[in-house]
């Protein structure tokens, strides 16, 4: 027979002042945890959404990212004719070459950061369908012009529609702004591949992105690259390629864990204090419960539950406090490509659940010792207490 939970909840209401203070403490911890984790979540989301399940990124075998890779022009002919690559409407292989370079430009906040410039072939829009022009127009091949991710134009100086940023040796005109469903392309500037190579003095491509006929063909393309010793190239599943880059978020996650753990320990002690005081104030009530026939275990469960409820109220408060940050944009550097990657603080339902779970664990840890001492109270002595 368990003690009715109404008893605990009503007590929390009667003691609303101390309930509020303790809940606020737990709330702060949960809010901090949710906010820092939403940073990591945002970085991961920007990168994991980016890959297309049938795309293959072809790089030089030692390179860790497109930015480090180089594919010679004579290699490109061999690459695009690899088995397993899909064809476009004109019967050409869907395997556009790309060149990746960086420019160091001032942000609006005055600090400089690297923007990734991607030189693309017209086939790229088939390869990366997430891209949508939202202002201005698309790129014209063979023109010295660029399209800029809207987020980049809002974060960096001189990348608005009609601006003429200096990229490499020449200036390019911004003819369009695009969005790309929150993928990593939203941190990039795209121009025509041959124009970019010319202005940045590049003799070769950086990478080739190829569309496989189906999932099985990805393996065939990979084997073909590995088997040809002339090439020294490797093919990577595009989804995996971007998933690997999420290690950028690892320091943030480590920081969030350290922060949350340390704060949680501090909050547990505070919660323990409150619960101990709650138990001490109810010596007679506990005695009464026991006389009514509730077992020590039921008393233990009742007080544990009360502590968890208290923590969950705090957890809910924390989630609510964290919510306004959802969707705020910020940037960090992807240390694989060495360029700025923009992301949005992302609070998912599962992250909130984690926050609540975290609160519940704090409630259990902080509530157990006081609940234990409550259940161990000698009955008669308790009743005699004034």
């Amino acid at each position: 027979m368990l003690v009715p939970i109404r008893y605990n909840l009503r007590y929390l209401v009667v003691r609303w002042k101390s309930t509020c203070l303790t809940a606020a403490t737990f709330g702060m911890v949960v809010a901090t945890f949710v906010i820092t984790m939403s940073l990591a979540e945002g970085i991961n989301r920007a990168l994991t959404k980016t890959g297309h399940p049938l795309n293959v990124v072809i790089l030089r075998s030692g390179a860790q990212s497109e930015a480090q890779s180089e594919i010679l022009k004579q290699q490109y002919e061999i690459v695009r004719n690899a088995p397993g690559i899909a064809r476009d409407a004109r019967g050409e292989p869907l395997a556009p070459p790309e060149v990746i370079t960086l420019v160091n430009k001032p942000r609006l906040d005055g600090k400089t950061s690297n923007i990734l410039i991607r030189g693309v072939d017209p086939q790229v829009y088939t390869m990366r369908p997430a891209l949508k022009i939202v202002e201005g127009r698309a790129l014209m091949p063979g023109m010295r012009e660029v399209i800029v991710a809207r987020a980049v134009s809002q974060r960096f100086q001189g990348f608005g529609l009609g601006d003429q940023p200096r990229l490499g040796r020449g200036t390019f005109t911004v003819v369009g702004l695009f969005e790309a469903e929150g993928t990593a392309y939203e941190s990039e500037v795209w121009g025509d591949v041959r124009e970019v190579m010319q202005e940045f003095d590049r003799a070769n491509y950086s990478s080739v992105v190829a569309r496989a006929i189906d999932r099985d063909a990805i393996g065939r393309i990979r084997e073909y690259m590995d088997s040809d010793p002339r090439l020294k190239l490797k093919a990577k599943d595009e989804v995996e390629y971007y998933a690997e880059q999420t290690k950028t978020a690892r320091p943030v996650q480590a920081f969030a864990s350290f922060l949350a753990m340390t704060m949680a320990i501090g909050a547990c002690f505070a919660g323990m204090n409150t619960m101990y005081a709650n138990v001490a104030n109810r010596v007679r009530e506990i005695g009464t419960l026991r006389i009514l026939g509730f077992t020590p275990t039921a008393v233990l469960a009742s007080f544990l539950l009360e502590s968890v409820c208290l923590a969950l109220i705090g957890g809910a408060l924390g989630c609510v406090m964290a919510l306004p940050i959802n969707g705020l944009a910020t940037g960090t550097t992807n240390f694989d490509s060495f360029s700025e990657v923009l992301f949005y603080f992302t609070i998912t339902p599962s992250l909130m659940m984690k926050g609540m779970l975290f609160a519940a664990i704090m409630g259990l840890a902080g509530g157990f010792p006081p609940a234990w001492s409550a259940s161990k109270q000698p009955v008669l002595a308790a009743l005699r207490q004034v």
Binding site: T25, G62, F269, A270, Y276
Partner: protein, 379 residues
């Protein structure tokens, strides 16, 4: 019964509560200390007298670009320049692709004249200069991989399509305890088929006065050439990298203030509990003629005592972070834990402020209750 003894007795009345409060304040102050130290070390890279004399010449466009090797001699002739070395970030992988350490292609004759605080024995330096495939590692890096002099180390190229087979001929001591490695620029250049390009150059100025002049002269010299340069002090260059991480200052700063505020909540609620329990005592003290001030001092004194112990605990835990390998955890962004004086001041100050406030608020309520009211309060 002196005042001090009274405070002491009161604090120990409920040992468990006092202990728990001390611990929660201790943990929060430890967190504050860690946060402030991390921020300090990221935003103020250590600068000894020598590092202020160092400049980095990098491509103006971005680090993805290169500079012609011929720039080295031109920079060397700039008035005020004492030493120049190539500085090519190789980004080589040793066994584990997920653990990167700094490995640079440099001019072995010059590099230790520029980084004078990195100490190497004359014999090992001579051995380094004498062998084209030689490399030297910082003691911390050699420790991590248990390398010994005479070991062959293969670095896999990532940016460069070559692997380098290197011979470890010595180790150098780095006061910043960074993990880094140097090898011959000429060896890399040869392996690449002599493109004669370097990602950057490291420059040592003769004196502080020449630093701004050198910055301007070098950038002026290469302006409107195909490879323009951006010359900045080493500190500015490092801060540029930190800025790339994102808005660290805001994030850490706001978290630190949340931590302090939470701590205050905890302390206030605990002290309020304590005072509530003693309302009748406060009334009795007033009845037998204790002044309001004395009673305030009693309660505030107790709160101060608790938070001071918290300060000691927090700083103690913070100091123990000196023993942790932070390099591995933070990917080399933070290599040591050395709190600045301002950090100590902030931590101790927060502790004291929390003691004052948390004691004063409930005490003020208590002394302002009329005696009869307080007597009637049951709690």
């Amino acid at each position: 019964m002196t005042l001090r003894r009274f405070i002491w007795k009161n604090a120990l009345r409920n040992k468990r509560r006092t202990g728990l409060t001390m611990l929660s304040i201790g943990f929060s102050l430890f967190l504050l200390m860690a946060l402030l130290t991390f921020m300090e070390q990221l935003l103020n890279p250590v600068s000894d007298a020598d590092s202020a004399l160092r400049l980095i010449v990098a491509p103006a466009t971005s680090i993805a670009d290169i500079l012609p090797l011929a720039y080295r001699d031109k920079i060397k002739r700039v008035p005020g320049v004492e030493h120049v070395s190539t500085l090519q970030w190789f980004n080589g992988i040793y066994k584990d692709p997920n653990y990167l350490f700094a490995n640079f292609a440099v001019d072995p004759k010059e590099i230790f004249n520029i980084y004078t605080e990195q100490i190497i024995s004359p014999e090992e330096k001579a051995a380094f200069i004498g062998d084209r495939t030689a490399c030297v590692a910082s003691t911390k890096l050699a420790e991590r991989y248990q390398w010994k002099v005479g070991d062959r180390i293969v670095l896999q190229g990532t940016i460069f399509p070559v692997d380098l087979d290197l011979l470890l001929v010595g180790t150098f001591y780095d006061p910043l305890s960074q993990e880094s490695m140097y090898f011959h620029f000429d060896y890399l250049n040869e392996a690449m088929g002599n493109p004669a390009i370097s990602g950057a150059f490291s420059v040592k100025a003769r004196d502080m006065a020449s630093v701004p002049v050198i910055e301007q002269t070098i950038d002026e010299m290469f302006r409107n050439s195909p490879n323009e340069t951006k010359t900045e002090t080493e500190k500015a260059f490092v801060l540029g990298f930190v800025a790339m991480l994102g808005n660290i200052q805001t994030i850490i700063g706001s978290v630190a203030s949340v931590v302090v505020f939470t701590m205050l909540l905890v302390a206030v609620s605990t002290m309020a509990m304590t005072v509530r329990e003693r309302m009748r005592e406060v009334a009795i003290l007033k009845t037998i003629g204790f002044s309001r001030q004395t009673i305030l001092i009693l309660v505030v004194g107790e709160a101060m005592f608790i938070s001071l112990v918290g300060v000691v605990l927090g700083v103690g835990m913070g100091e123990s972070l000196r023993l942790v390998d932070l390099t591995g955890i933070t990917q080399g962004f933070i290599t040591r834990f050395e709190p600045a004086l301002t950090t100590y001041a902030a931590v101790i100050g927060s502790g004291l402020a929390i003691g004052l406030l948390s004691g004063f608020l409930p005490a003020w309520q208590a002394v302002n209750l009329t005696i009869t009211h307080a007597m009637r309060r049951l709690d």
